[in-house]
């Protein structure tokens, strides 16, 4: 299938303009578009511009507020409870992460729980922002059910991601992980290609382990480390969905097929101000030492590079900033249709290779 290579800034501007047609202010549309394009740059296409159609539809249907409002419901020196007022998750997200950074600079650390939010894109994005301001950055979000508690095959918790990052003298080290062994998308793809899947990826719809992708696709993907991944998904939901006063588990609104009720997702943002513990330069130097040590370790057969968490995403983003963001023909055409529908001049024509 054809791949279209699009300059990332051109792509971002086009998405921004589309979002503006639905009443988003210029700067907020830019933030949202930037988060989506950043995901595509990093190779996390599931959280990239392929989501424009659903985001625009939700704005159009009025189930998401186009103008971001955030309401601080409770605040203490090291914590806050914030109502995202059903705003776009990305815009609320970066405003709240900035508040978290500012508060951590005063208090040493800050923990913020957020209710009444929407899908906030790639968790990586907020953590990167915190590391750029010399924080340990942490974020989590809940999501509609996709993972079953250990011992069941009925999804209850989402593939609730946890992301954490620290600055170094080079690019930050950032871990952004879902607590599932694999994304359901990979099982679906294997089924489409007629391939089998490895043991330990999925259960069938009646709870039996399977290597048959088409059976696994109708069932559920497994959590990492069995009960451990189940525990991680559960605790993210307790923090993001209960402590915050948002919804949780099966009670969360579905982004894809419910255009009446807000999702009421919850997030957590947390920052720790490194300089309140030790001089920043020493911290960065020691993290650099870990990186050098790890890079110099002996490698398993067939392994060329030992990567730091987030390194694959950074490297890919650098390449794609130069060479263009690869869009599948499907996504490319979707974006073109959105331009027609919302009367935005299509600017993705000039393909760069």
């Amino acid at each position: 299938m054809e791949t279209h290579y699009i300059n990332w800034m051109v792509l971002r501007e086009y998405c921004q303009k589309l979002l503006e047609t639905q009443g988003m202010p210029e700067d907020e549309a830019l933030i949202t578009a930037d988060s989506l394009v950043e995901a595509d740059l990093c190779g996390v296409e599931s959280h990239g511009v392929s989501r424009m159609t659903i985001y625009l539809k939700r704005l159009e249907e009025g189930v998401v507020n186009p103008v971001c409002e955030i309401k601080v419901e409770r605040e203490y020196p090291g914590s806050a409870l914030i109502n995202a007022c059903n705003s776009m998750g990305m815009v609320a997200g970066i405003r709240i992460m900035q508040k978290c950074i500012d508060k951590a600079k005063e208090s040493g650390s800050c923990f913020i729980a957020v209710n009444h939010s929407n899908h906030f894109g790639m968790a990586f994005y907020y953590v990167k922002m915190a590391t750029q301001q010399n924080m340990v950055g942490i974020t989590m979000t809940n999501a509609p059910p996709n993972i079953a508690p250990w011992g069941s095959y009925r999804p209850y918790m989402g593939t609730n991601p946890v992301a954490i990052g620290v600055p170094t003298n080079e690019e930050p080290i950032i871990l952004d992980m879902a607590p599932s062994v694999v994304a359901m998308g990979k099982v679906i793809l294997a089924a489409k290609l007629g391939n089998s899947i490895p043991e330990g990826w999925a259960l069938t719809a009646d709870g039996r382990p399977t290597t048959d992708a088409s059976e696994g696709m109708k069932g559920t993907v497994l959590p990492i480390g069995g009960p451990k991944g189940y525990g991680i998904a559960l605790f993210v939901d307790i923090l993001c969905g209960i402590l915050s006063g948002a919804q949780f588990g099966p009670y969360l609104g579905n982004m894809w097929n419910d255009f009446t009720n807000p999702q009421n997702l919850g997030h957590v943002f947390c920052c720790i101000d490194i300089s309140k513990f030790l001089p920043l330069e020493i911290f960065k130097e020691k993290v650099g030492q870990i990186k050098r040590d790890i890079k110099a370790l002996p490698k398993n057969p067939g392994v060329d590079i030992i990567f730091m968490p987030g390194e694959i995403e950074w490297t890919r983003a650098m390449e794609r900033r130069e060479k263009g963001v690869p869009l599948s023909d499907t996504v490319y055409k979707e974006l073109k249709q959105l331009g027609e529908k919302y009367r935005v001049g299509f600017t993705l024509c000039k393909e760069e290779k």
Copy 2:
């Protein structure tokens, strides 16, 4: 092999008296003994009274301070940096967790990093303490190398545990997990019994996947979720070992064979005051709802009960408080010998069944 069932309070008092012979004050010896016996009650024997021999030896050799001192090096409303002054990890641990709870009550949340500490036992113990004071409790510790970065077979990070817990109207929900698929102890046991091990547990000493337990035993256990578990182990080390100013990875002192240098382990304690976000009763009721929901889900073939994180440990501890703590003959005899060596009257004779 014979099993000896010992009343948990008798066992705790005996351990306490042994620790007092090495200069530990009565209350500090009690805390240490309580943590060890609690681990045995929960079925986490690796962190239980089987460690008395090494703890006593380290105290006797003077490589651990018998009298706990903690020095607050830096303090802000939502954070602190604390030097555990080479005290027993358990005693420093509960003092610091209490400080963390007290600070979170003021600030909403608190994050404390600790340097110059020693092995602090079962992470579960501190989290349970925080939940009893209506906190979300979190703790982490680093440990000497046992896990390899993903792509290598050379251990660099420890099986650094992360524990998190919340209160409910019944027992708390507590996740206490190492980022490895399995403890190396299980691989060693399989090798001893001549059994094979499942795929995905271990690598050989030259980095090849293996199902041969005796090969795996000479190699390394794998992290959960591959690069994800590697990332978790790495970030725990960055927080506990670098942010705190303690040691990290391969530079940590070894508890088992180095009696000259302090371990200089690092920990993190973190609390979030639930009542600063929503009324405690609502929080507990909603977590209770999650529990009821999960318990009522359909079960996989062969599964009788879907457990909440920590439930197996609580149930076991309740049983063992009644029936006695089962000690293997080896550990029983070790404890008896310690009584002779340190001149403490042996009180574990009366066996209860």
